[in-house]
């Protein structure tokens, strides 16, 4: 229904492109199926545990798929394949950080979080602290990280529809953003965590199937000899062997190298601090199942990033950088163009079909990610800020879930408006900022809470607000916002911080501020509460 609303203007704009009708049809099927699942899940959602945590009824494998579906955004599917196609090896550097990051979640975070928390990240951060200050800080940080990430996805969705459906002008972009926003709010308010999880599972299966198909087709062209594929890619790139070495994107100057180091730190430490990822660990019954879900996620996500290598180098070799850049200078259409080429080229039926399939998968990818983000931020608003801070624990379960649904609608509406009126925002910079805040504000506080006995409320408040403020301020005074023609405010120049990614400074700052706040505060940590958190987080005693 909603899909028609988006695509009707697009179809009217120019009905010539062969694949468009098929893309729209496939995507409509996806939307109808997921809405069906959502309504079914909504009927099964009775209490707060159902709404926030899907009744903790998912298996480790199901949750592993859902985590992958939550994590593999359009940025990683289209963005990384495109970056590899245009910059060769440097595109691959992203994937490595995105994968290695999961070890932090596996070794340090997933199981203790599942054992000691209930619905949100703040449950664990505030466990041994004074509730109101820490929950307020953690709730704000959760919402800020999720909204940055959400905006990136929605701005990206707007440009994507223009690219994949070959339409121009602002109207189709804006209709896409409205439709994506309306669908994600529906998934969350009606289906809660159960509905959202199934949407992510369906999307993960589709994305993996689509990527696997393209990978096999690419490798088959080179007789399953990866070295031949690499050779063809470097030759077609026009850059020779430099295409297969690091440096084309980040190696230009000392500043770009530092910028990459900064991004790499944020990627590897940010994942385990992303609230929409953390809440996924509550959807399984035990810590052991949380561990199994991360193991599956590592396998699925690792396999996916390995396949993006084939996609990126395949696009470079078979489509060629000139054709990719002509379609989109950032390379975001490399994977769809590769699909068209593998299906038989532009104008062929096979090409049209494969292009339509991959485009529909890309749309599905965006929907699943934004639903997860909306759920995490509205849950934190209702559970942390409303129930525990405003109502001081006097709100009933019904009221809390009601507030979460309203919050989802409000956050959805705000995200739609921001995404439409701020479409100049750079999606990649927004994602990098979300990771930097997660690594600078959330991860230090989470690790100190779990493993440092002396950590206090003042320390927690300092690391959350400090990490958050330092990362956001550094971006405000970076070339992302001013000083360059591509900046958000191109006319002004108040950029004194040279790096686009704040992590190199903000992550150590977050850890340092949490430590300083603890040392300088007069209060001492409550040893009994720490004993309780430690015993519960390691044994699962008293787990929800």
């Amino acid at each position: 229904m909603t899909a028609h609303a988006v695509t009707a203007p697009a179809l009217l704009a120019s009905a010539a492109t062969q694949h468009r009708g098929l893309t729209v049809a496939l995507f409509t099927v996806f939307v109808l199926v997921t809405l069906g699942i959502t309504v079914w899940a909504g009927r099964q959602t009775r209490d707060a545990t159902d709404f926030y945590a899907g009744g903790r009824s998912f298996t480790g494998f199901q949750n592993g798929l859902a985590i992958s579906g939550d994590y593999m955004s359009a940025a990683s599917f289209l963005g990384i394949a495109g970056a590899i196609a245009l910059f060769g090896y440097d595109g691959f550097l992203y994937s490595v950080g995105f994968l290695v990051a999961w070890l932090v979640a596996l070794l340090l975070v997933a199981e203790p979080l599942r054992n000691s928390g209930r619905y949100t990240m703040a449950d664990v951060l505030a466990f041994r602290m004074r509730q109101r200050p820490v929950r307020t800080a953690a709730g704000i940080s959760t919402i800020v990280v999720s909204v940055f990430y959400l905006l990136a996805q929605m701005v990206g969705a707007g440009s994507l529809v223009a690219l994949l459906l070959g339409v121009t002008g602002d109207a189709p972009k804006q209709w896409t953003i409205v439709a994506v926003g309306a669908l994600m709010v529906l998934y969350v308010t009606v289906g809660g965590m159960k509905g959202t999880t199934w949407v992510q599972i369906v999307k993960a299966v589709l994305l993996i199937a689509g990527t696997l198909l393209l990978t096999v087709l690419v490798l088959a062209k080179y007789h399953f000899n990866p070295s031949a594929l690499l050779g063809a890619a470097s030759e077609a790139s026009g850059k020779g062997s430099a295409f297969l070495e690091p440096g084309l994107k980040y190696g230009a100057t000392g500043t770009t190298k530092l910028d990459f180091l900064s991004l790499a730190l944020a990627l590897v430490l940010g994942t385990a601090g992303l609230p929409h990822i953390l809440v996924r660990f509550y959807t399984v019954p035990t810590a052991r199942a949380a561990r199994t879900s991360v193991l599956w996620a590592i396998g699925i996500i690792g396999g996916f990033y390995l396949m993006t290598l084939a996609l990126g180098f395949g696009a470079a070799a078979l489509v060629g950088p000139d054709a990719i850049k002509a379609s989109n200078p950032a390379g975001n259409t490399a994977a769809p163009l590769l699909a068209q080429e593998l299906g038989g080229g532009a104008g062929s039926t096979g090409g049209a079909v494969l292009l339509a399939v991959i485009s529909a998968v890309a749309f599905a990818t965006i929907l699943a990610v934004v639903a997860g983000l909306t759920l995490a931020s509205s849950a934190s608003f209702a559970h942390d800020l409303w129930a525990n801070v405003v109502r001081r624990g006097r709100a009933g379960e019904k009221e809390e879930v009601g507030v979460a649904r309203i919050a989802a609608v409000v956050i959805g509406a705000v995200a739609i408006l921001l995404a439409i009126f701020a479409d100049k925002l750079n999606a990649a910079a927004l994602v990098a900022l979300a990771f930097a805040v997660a690594a600078s504000a959330n991860l230090p506080t989470l690790l100190y809470s779990l493993f440092w006995k002396r950590f206090t409320t003042a320390g927690a408040v300092c690391s959350v607000y400090g990490g958050l403020a330092v990362s956001v301020l550094l971006v405000v005074f970076s070339p992302v916002v001013s000083g360059r023609p591509t900046s958000l405010v191109p006319g002004a120049d108040f950029a004194w911080f040279p790096l686009e990614n704040p992590g190199l400074v903000s992550i150590p700052a977050g850890f340092l501020l949490g430590w300083l706040g603890t040392l300088l505060s007069k209060e001492t940590a409550d040893p009994a509460k720490y004993a309780e958190l430690e015993v519960r987080s390691l044994t699962g005693l008293g787990a929800h």
Binding site: R132, A531, V535
Partner: protein, 135 residues
């Protein structure tokens, strides 16, 4: 300041129970086994990843050296990051299944058994352990 009931407050068991468990040798063994495995391994993979990132930025000559055909050191190093990630995940899963899970289950069992055999004086001493055991 927060005297009102918290929906997320831990089950109102005897606060001394957790402290007693935490001081026990059994729990200390579990903690040593977890930290002794997870902390050094975390330091190792973060260092290994940073080495890879630094080499990519500052040692182009080494990373560009050919290994075989069109495969260079950079690609091998990147794929090794994948391999070590999979290997560390597998190692941790094995360690957890062999050492951590049985110890955690035993502690949960003792906590449940302990409160059943010796009723604690607190108001609702069995809430937490029973939930844990029901898992």
């Amino acid at each position: 300041m927060d005297t009102t009931p918290q929906p997320d407050a831990p089950p109102p068991g005897d606060p001394g129970t957790f402290a007693r468990i935490e001081e026990g040798e059994e729990f200390r063994g579990l903690r040593r086994s977890f930290r002794g495995f997870a902390f050094p391994l975390t330091a190792a993979f973060v260092a290994w990843y940073l080495l890879y990132v630094l080499l990519s930025g500052y040692a182009p000559g080494l990373m560009g050296a050919t290994v075989a055909g069109h495969v260079n050191v950079a690609l091998v190093m990147g794929l090794l990051q994948f391999a070590t990630t999979f290997a560390i995940a597998w190692l941790y899963a094995r360690h957890a299944a062999r050492r951590l899970d049985p110890a955690a289950a035993a502690l949960r069992g003792h906590a449940a058994g302990g409160t059943a055999a010796v009723p604690a004086p607190a108001a609702s001493p069995s809430a937490a352990p029973q939930e844990g055991a029901a898992e």
